[in-house]
Symmetry: C2
Subunit: 396 residues, 2 copies
């Protein structure tokens, strides 16, 4: 017999600081007198929290306590734009920034990662995103997380959109790991129902993208993937029914981080076709990533499951409790897809592109964008441009 899981290296250097009241850790993590670029989004961080002060004010107070000077990059978009990254790089140069601090969700962190690596380079940010081998360093990056979804707080991955070319690109670099991430679930209490649901869809998708492949001999990764999914299947509906439940916020926040920090993908190839197609959609239509995944993922599963029915049946049985007794794997698998779709819909996540006003006429362009360089993508069943179009048509 041969050991067959692919050789891998796991090295995640992020310091995860988790729990209520942990914001004060900023005073240990930010060097005294540092010049900090504070990166945030549309201003929700300025809303008062339960205690009366806002997260923004709390962060500034801790930074002030260590004598840091603060420059602000605000207005980071939900699908963060290259133009915003470039603005941040200019601010870093102008103010001699030595720490980038992202206060927000995945978009803010992704933007901050691109700023951090580009500010340490002579190259333009887009050059680095297109060719990660050009990345040779980064400013230190810290995170205060306000939304449980992307896992960006503990991974080296970022997604940036170039609107000039309708190109939404995922990229990663070992230099892009946050040095520290502060996760206090109370900061997620004001996330509205739809964003909460999309976050859960996003983290489940991250698990699924690595779960569906042909890598043999991954029982531990499988049990942990299924365990994380089952945790979300258990707590998700309770959370969208009571958004103020901090226990559930805490669990979902922890799940989001561990869904996509490298543990579940150890030695696996993964597939990632759905993320590719969703990025193509949201490079043209500015829709929430989790909403797009909720639509595409089940249709993709139905389109490809005959290529590897045992694996899809395993999800159905081990996560959704579908009986496999006296049944073909593919039938068990299809029942699992239906259960997954119904689960996401029950949280309030959409099932059809029409939810976002996207019609048949938009699909050929999206299919083109998903295979910009004519390549196939995915591993369970490699997809070309016409396959992408077919998955999109099923999703109308």
């Amino acid at each position: 017999m041969v050991g067959r899981v692919h050789p891998f290296t796991f090295h995640n250097p992020t310091r995860l600081i988790f729990g209520r009241g942990q914001l004060s850790a900023l005073e240990q993590e930010v060097p005294r007198g540092a010049s900090v670029l504070l990166v945030y989004g549309g201003g929700s961080v300025k809303r008062p929290l339960a205690g009366g002060t806002s997260l923004y004010d709390g962060v500034l107070a801790h930074l002030s306590n260590v004598g840091a000077t603060v420059t602000e990059l605000s207005g980071v978009e939900p699908n963060p734009r290259l133009t915003t990254v470039r603005r941040g790089v200019d601010l870093c140069r102008e103010h001699g920034v030595d720490l980038v601090l992202a206060v927000g969700g995945g978009s803010v962190i992704d933007c901050a990662k691109a700023v951090a690596v580009a500010a340490a380079s002579d190259r333009d940010a887009w050059d680095l995103i297109l060719d990660r081998s050009l990345v040779t360093g980064a400013l230190p990056l810290g995170v205060v997380l306000t939304h449980a979804a992307t896992g960006s707080e503990m991974n080296p991955i970022s997604v940036i959109t170039n609107w000039e070319t309708s190109d939404k690109r995922g990229w990663s670099s070992p230099f892009a790991y946050p040095r520290f991430s502060i996760l206090d679930p109370t900061f997620t209490l004001s996330v509205p129902r739809d964003q909460t649901a999309y976050g859960i869809v996003d983290m489940m998708s991250h698990v699924l993208e690595d779960y569906f492949d042909f890598t043999p001999n991954t029982p531990l990764q499988d049990r942990w993937s299924e365990g994380l999914l089952r945790t979300l299947v258990e707590v998700g509906p309770r959370l969208v029914a009571d958004l103020s439940d901090l226990d559930l916020r805490e669990t979902v926040m922890l799940c989001g981080t561990w869904a996509f920090n490298g543990v579940l993908s150890m030695g696996r190839e993964g597939d990632w076709a759905c993320h590719r197609i969703e990025h193509a959609i949201s490079a043209v239509h500015d829709i929430p990533h989790g909403g797009g995944l909720s639509i595409i993922y089940p249709h993709w599963m139905e389109y490809v499951l005959e290529a590897h029915p045992a694996r899809f049946a395993q999800l159905a049985t081990n996560v959704f409790g579908v009986s496999a007794l006296h049944r073909r794997d593919a039938d068990v698998a299809r029942e699992g897809v239906a259960r997954l779709r119904a689960f996401w819909n029950s949280l309030g996540a959409p099932a059809r592109l029409s939810h976002y006003g996207i019609g048949a006429e938009a699909l050929p362009r999206i299919a083109d964008l998903s295979t910009l360089r004519g390549e196939t993508f995915g591993t369970v069943r490699p997809l070309g441009r016409d396959d992408a179009l077919r998955v999109l048509e099923r999703s109308l």
Copy 2:
């Protein structure tokens, strides 16, 4: 509702290099021209592997390729001794060592950790072990793992025995994380059946020590703990039936590392009473740690389970599939204990202290040693000296 899992920081800086053929990574990890202290045990690393050369020869060849000079600390004991640590520290000083490389299992790594921190200090190693706040640095530490058991390859924990005082002490320090660990399951192929079984008991015990506590709101940690245990319950019997199965070796090796690298204990208090009692046993009787745990753990469970029956019943149901229908938690829990004991015995691990020739007359001294400073220990049910004696008596 309140978020109740204890605040925690997770930061594991070890670079885990996993898979067949990864030994050559030494040439990336060891700096050119380094002075290396090579730490190993009784010489099993010098036995030829399937390819004809030994692991020892392979390591020396890679070190030679990067121009490293090598000093050897060999003969590290199964329960590594303070005297050996001191010998290693002397060698580090004498030869200007700048990297400690442990090639072996948990004992060799634990010894190398103590050498690495003591060589960077003016203090004697035992002072540092008794008071970890005195540890202020360490020589860089690398690992080539040859036995799946303790998890020492990816945690900051070490256990050293001072035979002069019959004191076996666990200690840890953030400085004691290995910088890198190379895990090639082919290096575990020659581990005999009993050591293989003890390793599985040891890693399962690490999971259980954190699983049994009163920390609320830990569903993800629970599902992952149960998933790792179920993986070992599935593959363990197959591996002891065919020790040459590399797929199973691979799975068990991965489980050993992730059982005890900080992930499953996130935010948890844990209990750790059984490790305390087992350390007291093996500070007097030089028995295998996993063998001692296999005896003590089920008896401890029976002794304390009425203090928290729901938790023990959860193990029974979620790991061993014991039905909870129409039954009291404590009864479900007891059936789970019986299943755990039977499982370990089926691997060849012992159930009674008599297996090692330990009789009633030895127990008072062991009970004394488990509460050297008169303190109680454990959290599910805090134990004093007489409780320890009672658990030991049940284990005769």
